[in-house]
């Protein structure tokens, strides 16, 4: 089996400026724009076959029979598998921390029950993709259908679960002089990364290599070895490049297990690429949420009570909870808080984390309610939030590691020109259009997880950084190269970062916006250890150039080891290593998680931001556009602002989609997501993206890591939809509490 590893750098790629905090383009950019980056579905192996699953065409019921006779006779077909003729899969054990996670826990073909439309009931394997698809279409499945439930209104029969509580929220609400009591709804949203989910599985004896579209290769291995029933070390997971994931590629899905099982059975490598339509059914989604939000406040705007009661839909078998109340307990100063949650089971695929899970739909509710409160009180929405700025995290009673929300709002207001706002509905006009302005605050948790990394300094002066994390497309290769360059003093063009392979030192998941915060301490430590090993080799051994010197008296700079007092004594890396007869100087480093660690016992760790939106509205057609956006983010120190800015811009564009366009709608008759394609599931286009002004406050977080860096993958989406619906209200007088905004509903305003 090939162990050839992908490099992050294209041959001949130009050297870019090396400075932390500079504007370094992604070092993997040339590979991507030239088509040389190998994505999972590009992987092609000798003798490889193609698998295409057969999706169920009912949403609830039982499989009565499967007739694959006609399918097996088609050209190129090698096999058709279903329950009974494919070696069964095991369930994996419950997760430990962030290892062993899977949302849809039932292995494919475990029983004859269908619980959602599109659930895989069989899989065809053939020599070409087309042949496999024709065979899958030719499999005849008979079902005994039961009534299904895809009802959008959410209700629960079980008691709500308490997520956070202090004081007496009900009593304080009842006696509050000013009350807001509204229900906010966010729809089912589908991640829809442009790169389709895919698996290529290749067995050699009882060892398997899985080429995966995975945001968490170590976790993928942890789950798959258990489900396949092989030793852990026999599973290798590879994911060199991702065409994004937005959380949908964090945990394994049924197609991956099927591809591995089928490849084992058929005795050849197998590629399985999930169709766009299936991606609306089988690889997770952000579940529909229904959130009743009550605020009690004084006439001075001081919050007295927050009561956040929310439900989310989940699948029949899996209890996926969308943590909508994540930010509610600590965002503002308020003595009485009650956050409760419940689930509503539906005949739909299992939900999963989607960019900013919990906080994004939760902040839509809370920040919309805050805007409604500001209007009820006739207080500027920024001033309302400023009056409720907490001195500490009032839920944990811990100080914030770094919180600059008020500054975010002040800077945003200046950039946006908020002082020129006329608060009356429909009062602001420009070029025959009505203009609306709205703002919202936001937050996202900051965390560090366990990570290991290795750094090698080779004789030719090049540095190789390795860790088994992956780059979703966000710039992980680049930021790790920057950190290694900073720690070794070796220029960026000589640094090669290798990720996306479980044979490398274990790295973290690419989720929660914590990969940067987690991996950089490991890489930076590993680099320092590698430099020290080089200095040690300079002083010890029979041919050492500085034999007998204390290595504290030596330095490593510009690729040479020299005495600190006399830089002219410099010996190049190659010579040091040659004299020591060493191939390379190596160092291992690690980071430890904040989860249950000292920092999380002492500090409340979060990023903050303020979002400002302008919409333009044409009353005759209800034509609505987001025409301007300002986002000010407090996410610690920015190591590489250019890709960080890309993250915020992309999230704002996604937030425009969340506010105005995106919703997967389930057909009541069949239980299928009816708009399961990119023509009918509407996402923002370039033409919908307004000028976006992104500012990073760049205050280092002294707690999270030595660079003071947090992550920025998710926070740009938080608060964005609430800022837009606030602007829509300002322009039209219509308060939209159920996303997405439909321009049809604005005409009556």
């Amino acid at each position: 089996m090939s162990r050839a590893r992908e490099s992050s750098r294209a041959p001949g790629a130009p050297e870019a400026p090396k400075v932390i905090g500079g504007k370094l383009p992604r070092i993997d950019g040339p590979l991507k724009v030239s088509g040389r980056a190998v994505y999972t579905s590009d992987v092609s192996l000798d003798g490889m076959l193609y698998a295409v699953p057969v999706p169920s065409t009912i949403a609830s019921g039982r499989i009565v029979s499967i007739d694959a006779a006609a399918a097996r006779k088609l050209a190129g077909v090698r096999a058709v598998y279903y329950r009974g003729n494919l070696r069964p899969f095991f369930r994996s054990a419950p997760p430990q921390g962030f290892s062993g996670l899977i949302d849809e826990k039932r292995p494919p073909f475990e029983d004859d029950v269908v619980r959602y439309y599109g659930q895989y009931v069989a899989v065809a394997v053939a020599q070409t993709m087309e042949q496999a698809k024709a065979a899958a279409d030719a499999v005849r499945v008979r079902y005994a259908a039961d009534a299904h439930n895809v009802e959008p209104h959410l209700a629960t029969e079980k008691p709500f679960r308490t997520e956070s509580e202090r004081g007496n929220a009900d009593a304080a609400f009842q006696s509050a002089p000013v009350k807001i009591d509204q229900t906010y709804v966010t729809p089912t949203e589908v991640h829809n990364p442009i790169e389709l989910h895919a698996t290529v599985a290749a067995w050699e004896g009882d060892r398997v290599t899985l080429y995966e579209t995975s945001q968490a290769i170590m976790n993928h291995r942890e789950v798959l070895y258990q489900m396949l029933g092989v030793p852990k070390e026999n599973v290798r997971v590879v994911s060199h490049f991702l065409g994004s994931g937005f959380g949908g590629k964090l945990w394994p899905w049924t197609h991956s297990i099927l591809a591995a099982g089928v490849a084992r059975e058929v005795g050849a490598p197998v590629k399985l690429v999930v169709s766009r339509q299936s991606m609306f059914q089988t690889v997770g989604h952000r579940p529909r949420t229904q959130q009743r939000f009550r605020i009690g406040a004084g006439h001075d705007g001081k919050l007295l009570s927050l009561h956040h009661e929310y439900l989310n839909q989940t699948s029949i078998l899996d209890d996926y909870g969308e943590d909508c109340g994540e930010a509610t307990p600590f965002m503002y100063s308020v003595p009485n808080v009650r956050v409760i949650s419940a689930l509503a089971h539906r005949n739909i695929g299992t939900p999963t984390a989607m960019r900013g899970p919990g906080a994004v739909p939760g902040l839509f509710a809370m920040e919309s309610a805050m805007d409604e409160l500001a209007i009820a009180l006739n207080i500027d929405p920024i001033e309302l939030r400023r009056r409720n700025e907490p001195q500490q995290d009032e839920s944990s009673k811990l100080p914030f590691s770094s919180r600059h929300l008020v500054e975010c709002m002040q800077v945003g207001a200046e950039k946006f020109g908020w002082a020129r706002r006329d608060a009356r509905v429909g009062a602001m006009k420009r070029d025959g259009l009505t203009i609306g302005w709205g703002m919202a605050a936001c937050s996202w948790g900051a965390m560090r997880s366990d990570a290991q990394a290795s750094v090698e300094i080779a004789r030719d002066g090049t540095v190789t950084v390795t860790t088994a994390t992956q780059d979703v497309g966000t710039g992980t290769y680049t930021v790790l190269a920057l950190v290694a360059a900073e720690a070794t003093g070796i220029s960026l063009d000589k640094i090669d970062v290798r990720l996306g392979d479980t044979s490398l030192p274990p790295g973290p998941i690419s989720g929660g916006s914590w990969v940067t915060a987690s991996v950089i301490p490991a890489v930076s430590n590993a680099a320092r250890v590698a430099v020290r090993s080089l200095l040690t080799m300079s002083t010890t051994g029979p041919n050492a150039p500085f034999a007998g010197a204390k290595f504290e008296d030596l330095q490593f700079a510009n690729g040479r080891v020299s005495r600190k007092r006399d830089p002219s004594t410099g010996v190049p890396i190659g010579e040091v290593l040659a004299r020591a007869n060493a191939r390379a100087a190596v160092g291992d480093g690690q980071s430890s998680t904040t989860l249950g660690g000292e920092e999380s016992k002492k500090y409340s760790l979060h990023s903050y931001g303020a979002q400002f939106a302008e919409v333009s509205w044409q009353p005759e057609t209800a034509r609505l556009r987001v025409s301007r956006f300002v986002s000010v983010i407090d996410a610690g120190r920015m190591l590489n602002p250019k890709p960080a800015r890309n993250q915020i811009e992309g999230a704002v564009v996604m937030g425009i989609g969340m506010a105005l366009f995106e919703e997967a709608r389930y057909d009541k008759r069949y239980g299928a997501p009816i708009n399961s394609n990119l023509a009918d599931y509407i996402v923002s286009t370039n033409a919908d993206a307004p000028p976006i002004d992104v500012t990073f406050l760049d205050h280092p977080d002294p707690v999270l890591n030595e660079f003071g860096a947090r992550g920025v993958g998710e926070i740009g989406l938080a608060g964005t939809a609430a800022a837009i619906t606030a602007a829509v209200y300002h322009a039209t007088g219509v308060r939209v509490r159920e996303l997405p905004v439909r321009i049809e509903d604005l005409l009556r305003g």
Binding site: T128, E130, Q131, K133, A134, D137, A138, E620, T621, A622, R623, R625, L660, F661, R665, I674, N675, A679, D680, I682, S684, T685, N686, A687, D688, I743, E744, L747
Partner: protein, 270 residues
């Protein structure tokens, strides 16, 4: 059941004569840009197995001015139409409509004849052809006939085109007066219309709407009301009796009725 593409076949004639002969002998489905056809294949709604590739037929391509008519080959792409000086000079709203179809890739492949033949009531260029009183030149191996665009559709996705005929060209008689076009979609680009309107301000105004009826609709009685001096509010009342919009995934009847009236008012005030 969806068709595997490998089970499909197509003929690739080099000339129009050859194409029409093939079409006479076998009911092939013509393919030009395939931008609608692929969607049908993928959704399993198009059952055909045998196709006629008409992309190599020079006779279907090109834009010319012949006498008082702008003549556009049925196989001319939206991109070509958008950039044509003749179209910009004589029927600028056709260039506008072409520039709002799909994305760049679709514009590079999709053809005007395809938009007509696909017969969707939401086709972006169709209200323009309706107000132009366009003439469709249809040919078969045996015959040639000219069919007014406004008589071409007989019902939802139904046309008078016979299985052995191809649309060869679309002729737009030139017109005096200000032309007007609006497309209303959910997003700013790559949107399927909630509503699309074309109009010409001449002595006898011409008005057509898409996505408000089973076929693209020329609003003859609304036009007559305006030509006869009715107030705009009365004309909007007439418009409401001419259109039959529905609630669907993309919009609602109420919205389409309200916006159709608002667009008429906007046009008349322009």
């Amino acid at each position: 059941m969806k068709s595997a593409l490998s089970q499909l076949s197509f003929a690739r004639p080099r000339t129009l004569e050859e194409a029409l002969t093939l079409l006479r002998d076998e009911p092939l489905v013509p393919i030009a840009g395939a931008t609608d056809l692929y969607v049908g294949l993928n959704f399993g709604t198009l059952k055909a197995q045998r196709f006629l590739d008409i992309t190599r037929l020079e006779e279907l391509r090109g834009i010319s001015v012949t006498g008082d008519r702008l003549v556009i080959g049925a196989g001319t792409t939206y991109t070509t139409i958008m950039h044509s000086a003749s179209v910009r000079a004589h029927w600028p709203i056709l260039a506008d409509a072409a520039s709002q179809v799909g994305g760049v890739q679709i514009q590079n492949r999709g053809t005007l004849g395809g938009n007509v033949a696909n017969a969707s009531p939401a086709g972006d260029t169709l209200p323009v052809l309706a107000v132009a009183d366009a003439i469709l030149q249809l040919r078969s191996a045996q015959s040639q006939r000219a069919v007014p665009f406004n008589s071409f559709y007989t019902g939802y996705r139904q046309t008078v085109l016979r299985p052995d005929e191809l649309i060869v060209s679309i002729e737009l008689p030139m017109v005096e007066g200000k032309q007007w076009f609006r497309k209303v979609g959910t997003r700013a680009a790559q949107a399927i219309s909630k509503l699309v309107m074309a109009a010409v301000r001449t002595e006898a105004p011409r008005i057509a709407l898409g996505s408000v009826a089973p076929t693209p609709l020329r609003l003859r009685r609304t036009e007559a009301a305006l030509a006869g001096g009715s107030s705009i509010e009365d004309a909007i009342g007439v418009l409401q009796t001419e259109i039959t919009p529905i609630d669907d995934l993309r919009s609602s009847e109420a919205y389409r009725r309200a916006v159709a009236g608002n667009l008429l008012r906007r046009f008349w005030a322009s």
